[in-house]
Amino acid sequence: MHLGHTHDGPAAVSADATRPDGTRRALRIGLGGPVGSGKTATVAALCRELRDRLSIAVVTNDIYTREDADFLLDNAVLPPERIQAVETGACPHTAIRDDISANLEAVEDLEDAVGPLDLILVESGGDNLTATFSKGLVDAQIFVIDVAGGDDIPRKGGPGVTTADLLVINKTDLAPYVGSDLERMALDAEKQRGELPVAFTSLTSAEGVGPVADWVRAQLAAWTA
């Protein structure tokens, strides 16, 4: 993708694994999914779980406010200089897939300002089932859906459900109240995803994010190996 050209300027073009100074950049993990499925809550829980051992930063892509960034700040999951909000011009999927410039700028600025970083979580704005992250922006992606959004979502599939490196089915504690069949969701997800992993979570308890955190740790181990 670099047309055989050597980049000796200040910024890598996109997915280069090293930073301009030759050091390895942070692992970037994208979190996407429909509005209200618990992306920001998952990011917050991951930060709480991992921040003691890892140097973490977060990029949020709010659709028209700073709500997600402010939620993370209000809950003090990370110091403010580790959270950057990107504005997406009414098209959150464009900013994570078709034109990733602003998000790349945000991750590079974070590495410059508070680096070295181990992990950058890029949270997309709440979008539809077709939203996926560009490989030029993230190394791996998590798609977050929830049981209250309808237990037929795994069956319906779509690029997020089918191709994400990890599918998180959140709010399992609500399943009995909304009549969602977790076993059916697991079977449908397996049909869509084959070998790709699925994590069922309930973030009402502190350890609820555990399966996702374990997956992130495994990704990091592979990245730094």
Partner: protein, 220 residues
Amino acid sequence: MSRAALLVLADGRFPAGGHAHSGGAEPAVAEGRIRDADSLASFCRGRLHTAGLTAAALAAAAAHGVDPLALDEAADARTPSPALRATARKLGRQMMRAARATWPSPDLDALASARPRGAHQPVVLGLTARSAGLGPEDAAHCVAYETVSGPATAVVRLLSLDPFHATAVLARLAPELDRVAEQAAEAARRGIDALPAASAPLLDITAEAHAAWPVRLFAS
């Protein structure tokens, strides 16, 4: 020159960050100055002949081979609003990333090193055009077109304006776009001191206000 290269650079899908910006249309919609296709056309015409002409000439000069750092200063001098300066540099940095991936050149590397936080977007676009083998007229056409296509696209999202009507506005502006691009390229050939300095004070003022909005759809 390659006509196809011009199409690639001018394509609204060229990944250089423009999709998140309304070119001042968001505050104009909020204040009722843009409410339909006719008022969108007036807004675009005003922007084209003021900020658009100035930006197109900066791009044409960069494509012509004028020193980009001198042009960057000239752009600062022509951009009184700090918010719009910040936007121009942010978009310049994003354009630079796309440019170095698409038409890499030592000129682009040198400007990226000299302005790691971004040079003004029209200057970077002009240098990109030069790296792509395009000329001053091409660069000026690109900038003139994005001066009006950005707001038109944004207004489709902001007002749910019929996209056919919005595109028809752009089509009807085509002869004026050609004239502005020619004017800009001609000025660029006369040197940096001949570059136009037209501006739209209301765009500057509303850009400052918009930058402080707590809730907005577009970054500018």
